[in-house]
């Protein structure tokens, strides 16, 4: 005996419709699940991307802070620090005659030639170490004059070296080169950090008391100053100097290389000057 449902065409139609409905529902459910899965994947990808971006940003901030942040390693940031540097420089060289790159009495019996590079940290060591005592004891009393000459060592780029040295010499045309030099060394930035820019030099010049800025700016274009820098380099080469600071000392007009052995203690300089004054 056969099943009556199998013989009934209407039941067959009903079965087909139910099958189709089930299939349709299954398809819809599958599509929904697929869409949900795809959406979940997209959300996960976005989350992971967000995490990556956050980690990279954090790493860059750390690197930025570890390598000196956004600060410029040069001129003191605070007005107080600037005032203090200017005050120190004024107390060191104020009142001492200046003539171009020479500091001291033009008729001083002894001359010291100081070959330096404004970006050289050892020159800073000397300028802030042994030099102040020498200035107070010998230059201020008129027995010694010091001539600053340029020799490129620490400054990596010849163009930058020439520009900063010409800027100093331009201040020298107003007899304020030593104010400029001293300020440069007092506020010297980190070697090779590229802190010496046009704006840096202009800001430094603005700190030099009494410097006529338009005149200074104009004088920087004087080709004679660039020639003077070249002349200094030749003089250093002729003396066999390869590093800075290097010195020549002697009775005015009879200079000889001098190796003090220290840049922070004035003793050897004092001894040499005394010896020359007595001879």
């Amino acid at each position: 005996m056969s099943d009556s449902r199998d013989d009934d065409p209407q039941d067959d139609e009903g079965d087909l419709t139910r099958k189709q409905r089930r299939e349709q529902a299954r398809t819809q459910r599958r599509e929904l699940e697929q869409a949900e899965a795809a959406s979940a994947v997209r959300r996960t990808r976005l989350t992971r991307l967000g995490i990556v971006v956050a980690v990279v940003v954090a790493a860059i901030v750390v690197i930025l802070l570890a390598t000196g942040g956004g600060s410029k390693k040069g001129i003191p940031k605070t007005a107080q620090a600037k005032t203090q540097a200017v005050s120190e420089v004024t107390s060191l060289v104020g009142g001492i005659p200046q003539n171009g790159k020479v500091l001291g009495n033009p008729k001083a019996p002894v001359t010291l030639q100081y070959f330096g590079d404004l970006e050289c940290p050892i020159c800073k060591e000397f300028t802030l170490g042994a030099l102040p005592s020498i200035l107070r004891q010998w230059v201020r009393s008129g027995k010694l004059k010091i001539e600053y000459r340029a020799l490129e060592t620490a400054t990596r780029e010849p163009e930058v070296f020439k520009t900063q040295q010409v800027a100093a010499l331009a201040a020298g045309k107003q007899n304020k080169m030593w104010d400029f030099l001293e300020l440069f060394y007092h506020e010297q930035g980190e070697e090779d950090s590229g802190y010496v820019t046009e704006s840096y030099l202009q800001a430094l010049a603005r700190q030099v008391p009494g410097l006529n800025l338009p005149q200074w700016t104009s004088d920087r274009n004087d080709p004679a100053l660039a020639t003077e820098v070249t002349g200094d380099t030749e003089a250093a080469n002729n003396a066999g100097f390869t590093g800075t600071p290097s010195f020549e000392i002697g009775k005015t007009g009879e200079l000889h290389p001098f190796t003090p052995g220290t840049y922070t203690e004035p003793g050897p300089y004092n001894a040499q000057i005394e010896k020359l004054l007595k001879s």
Partner: protein, 155 residues
Amino acid sequence: MIVLTTIGLGVAAYLTYVHYSGATPVCSIKGNPCSQVQKSVYSTLVGVPVALIGLIGYILILGSLLAPEGERARFATTVLTVGGFGFSAYLTYRELFTLHKICEWCVSSAVIVTVLMLLSIWRFLRGDVPSPGGPSSPAPELEPEPTPPVGATHS
């Protein structure tokens, strides 16, 4: 992306050579700011030349691009290029606001890594949804999965 990465790799290799040989980089800008940038204190990071870091980065990016296509490889490329972009942004900041110099080699690398980052993010977000049957499969064949498969790539 492979072509771009290869060009970037060439730039980084050249700058690494310049760093170690002490040679002056070829530069069309007056005053050779490239040389000033390459010799600056920011040309190294904890003693490692940034050019070498870039070279290693490009090699890794190339490796991720040549790896079998899949979620893991696309994510690796994205991580590397986003990292490269961040590092490049830091170096460009140093050039513009600390050194006040711009190096055309560095700029070209920055542009390359920026384009690579955008492409890799697009590729990562628009990539095929992976299925358990293989590294990737077309979206229409997607089967529901109990857990998001992308989590499996995390290491």
